[in-house]
């Protein structure tokens, strides 16, 4: 439908979609991994100073 250069047009849209899709997937996956690690750390008792004050006074 795009004339003789359809490969180039579809190809460029496909490359853009691929790279941006990869970016979105990477950001989402990274977020999931970081929150999981953070939860793990907090579950094992390592907390930040700001969060600690309520439970145990040093």
């Amino acid at each position: 439908m795009f004339g003789p250069y359809a490969t180039f047009i579809v190809g460029s849209y496909a490359v853009v979609a691929g790279v941006i899709g990869a970016l979105i997937v990477w950001v989402a996956w990274d977020h999931r991994r970081q929150t999981a690690t953070l939860r793990e750390l907090e579950a094992s008792g390592v907390t930040r100073r700001s969060a600690r004050g309520k439970t145990a006074a040093p």
Binding site: F2, G3, P4, Y5, A6, F8, I9, G11, S12, Y13, V15, V16, V19, I20, L23, I24, V27, A28, D30, H31, Q34, T35, T37, L38, L41, V46, T47, R48, S50
Partner: protein, 243 residues
């Protein structure tokens, strides 16, 4: 909420959580409208259907430069105000900028093949974007070379500002070099007199890609803040273990 409140990463994270879904939605809607408009756009009398590549090439090229601008502002924030979020913003923006620059190069090359007959032409604009891409990669290499994010941030900020000063000079030099070696022979649409049939989809796509960048940038900044939090927790854990 004042800008100074955003210096608190926890508050920033809360704000991001609230804003991000709406931004993503706006991006998706604008992108859908833009794609529909670019599909419906007529063929150019000179370039035929290949003009459709313009609708994704130009927004990427615009973002390639815009992201360096965002990083320069963040660099000022890092060096002048020592704003903790500025470091995070600059670090999160660099890979995104590199990706957009890469896309501008690839789409430009795919657009050039039917127009010029080769995938790569040492055309002034393409060459400048290629140099920009190399500079993005150098900046990312600098970020990755150092463990401590705060130290890397200041070094990267200086390099970003030096790059911001040098980029116009490089652009001018490459333009000059190009006219020296080959007078511009290929006619390209994209001058100031762009017909509305092309301008409206192009602007929509520009807005859509800008929204996409803002969304991804905020999400990547959130990840980076979490990563740094984990890093400091790990160091605290190690310090407690040693004590």
């Amino acid at each position: 909420m004042a800008v100074i409140d955003l210096a608190n990463p926890t508050r920033f994270l809360k704000l991001v959580e609230r804003v991000l879904p709406w931004l993503a939605l706006a991006t998706a809607v604008t992108l859908a409208i833009g794609l529909q408009q670019s599909l419906a756009a007529p063929d150019d009398y000179q370039q035929g259907a290949t003009v459709k590549i313009m609708f994704i090439h130009v927004p990427n090229a615009w973002l390639a430069m815009f992201v360096w601008g965002v990083m320069s502002l963040s660099a000022l924030g890092t060096l002048v105000w020592r704003h903790p979020l500025a470091d995070v913003s600059a670090q999160a923006a660099a890979p995104l900028g590199a990706a957009f620059t890469f896309l501008a190069l690839v789409t430009g090359s795919l657009w050039g093949r039917p127009m010029w007959g080769t995938y790569w032409e040492w055309d002034a604009r393409m060459t400048s974007v290629l140099v920009l891409f190399v500079m993005y990669l150098g900046l990312i290499a600098l970020w990755r070379a150092v463990e401590d994010p705060a130290r890397a941030a200041r070094a990267a900020a200086i390099l970003t500002l030096v790059g911001a000063i040098n980029l116009p000079i490089i652009k001018f030099s490459v333009d000059w070099w190009n006219t020296l070696h080959q007078p511009a022979s290929v006619l390209r649409a994209g001058g100031p007199a762009l017909d509305n049939a092309f301008l409206i989809p192009l602007l929509t796509m520009g807005v859509a890609f800008s929204l996409l960048f803002v969304t991804l940038h905020l999400a990547a900044m959130r990840n980076e803040i979490l990563r740094r939090r984990i890093r400091s927790l790990r160091m605290m854990q190690a310090a407690q273990g040693a004590a």
